[in-house]
Symmetry: C2
């Protein structure tokens, strides 16, 4: 029988994941290196922020590890209908903004949450935000993600893909943030799934990240692009900002609970643009992209 | 005796204000012209959006008029502890992003809200967000604003200045958005103040805008600046985005209630930057600026 899961084991694994992803991304980029910041949280715990910028393929990115603990914030207790309790949370969170407009933005998060009353769960997800939707890249991404899901539970991909479509949605633009992926939260004991099985799922999602993004970067990093295409990238980054600041629950929660602002907002693009009322020409590749920023597209 | 105020009178005046401000700003800029968009709101009313960009002094700006009506959204009724009611809202809202980093961003809003149960009020404000705080500009701005306030009520300036300090505050950065100004909402019948007097106050705030901003632009528009100073401007614009998307009640309300997204987000800068963990050098003009982004500074 496998050993019961411990916070320590999970936290160590997340740190190794951060190490492994940073080293793979440095190798992929070939030019820029991550810079590390260690920080502590007044009320308990801290983190290891790693930020990369000015790369050959990566313009700006963060691969952030943290493990924090303390009194559970009142708004979370209310939301969960619980009395006072301590919490412990650890995870790795990533956002990468590439140089080339043909390369996609990517986000991944894997996290573990535990409360002193015994409740615990995993959460996370991985999703892709192309500036220009390239069908074969989106299909490749979803196929790889589905393979990892299918190895753990036959329902995971469909359920978590729909969750991502609903979550990564910019309501005021009536468009999804990108081509989606998977999103899941509060993974807790289901019939046949043990907490160790769930941790193995999280690990497989984590391990998928670097090779998958390397593949997508390498497919597109050397493509030539025009000034107009660069401009479009900047506008799409503006939408990324809108999603993260208006809707993202992790961002909101972090800012509301006095999280480390610089680590939370490392997801912001290095440069973003806003123009008034841009309407892509019918039949353009920009219009094609918009037409694919919809829920419920079956990419696989 | 003066005639009772009507929606029609207020709405007409706001349209004239928009005309007058646009024409003054075009004259000030000397190069760019406003482009107009008329729009209608499915549930009642519409607006006249005017946007300027690529100017000599103004990089991007919006001077937006709207008059909308319909069923009051449920969240407002709840907040006001009211039963079902119709609402009517009209106003002018402005944000201008200048070219030169030494020129300040400015925002003004004047609005009127009325409900079918008879409740009505004015709200608004004007506040200044320098990329670099220039003491004499901040003093000039506050002095002019105070003069308008003092002409209407001895308490207005202190009360509304404090309100602006509290409102235009970026909690997660522990800094104010800029050097403040005035902010007020739900101006309703006070002892000696009639609704006509309050409208006259709103009119004086509106009339102050164009000459005051013209003065501040003209003081700074021809100053030379370095690449580093331009970069700093872009970072400060990032903070402007953070405030507007995370905290601004008007933005939130607009996006939540299916407002016209392009009109609401015309406040976004044309270009903004985010860098990780920028800490201005001690004694630098950037550090001076940060030191002045605090509540409760007496500028007058």
């Amino acid at each position: 029988m496998k050993q019961a899961l411990s916070k320590k084991e999970i936290e160590s694994w997340f740190k190794e994941l951060q190490d492994s992803i940073c080293s793979q991304l440095e190798q992929t980029d070939g030019k820029a290196k991550f810079k590390e910041d260690l920080w502590t949280r007044e009320d308990g715990g801290g983190g290891r922020s790693r930020v990369i910028s000015g790369g050959d393929a990566i313009e700006k990115g963060g691969v952030m590890f943290s493990a924090v603990w303390g009194k559970t914030p009142a708004n979370i207790l209310n939301a969960l209908k619980l009395n006072e309790s301590d919490f412990y949370a650890t995870g790795v969170s990533i956002v990468i903004h590439p140089v080339n407009p043909w390369s996609p933005i990517i986000h991944m998060n894997t996290r573990y949450f535990e409360m002193s009353n015994g409740i615990s769960w995993f959460g996370g997800g991985i999703d892709l935000t192309p500036h220009y939707v390239i069908e074969e890249d989106a299909v490749h991404f979803h196929t790889k993600v589905k393979t990892v899901c299918d190895a753990h539970h036959g329902d995971y991909y469909n359920k978590f893909k729909k969750w991502a479509d609903d979550y990564f949605f910019i309501k005021h633009r009536n468009e999804t943030r990108g081509v989606g992926g998977i999103f899941f939260d509060r993974l807790s004991e289901e019939k046949e799934i043990s907490s160790r099985n769930r941790f193995e799922f999280i690990q497989d999602v984590g391990k998928l990240f670097a090779p998958l993004y390397t593949e997508l970067l390498n497919r597109n990093r050397n493509k030539s692009y025009t000034e107009e295409e660069k401009k479009w990238q900047m506008l799409r980054r503006g939408r990324y900002v809108e999603f993260n600041l208006v809707y993202d629950i992790g961002t909101k929660f972090g800012l509301d609970t006095n999280g480390r602002t610089e680590s939370i907002l490392v997801s912001m693009p290095p440069v973003a643009n806003w123009d008034y009322n841009i309407q892509p020409a019918e039949g353009s590749k920009e219009a094609y992209t918009i037409s694919k920023l919809k829920k419920d597209i079956n990419w696989v």
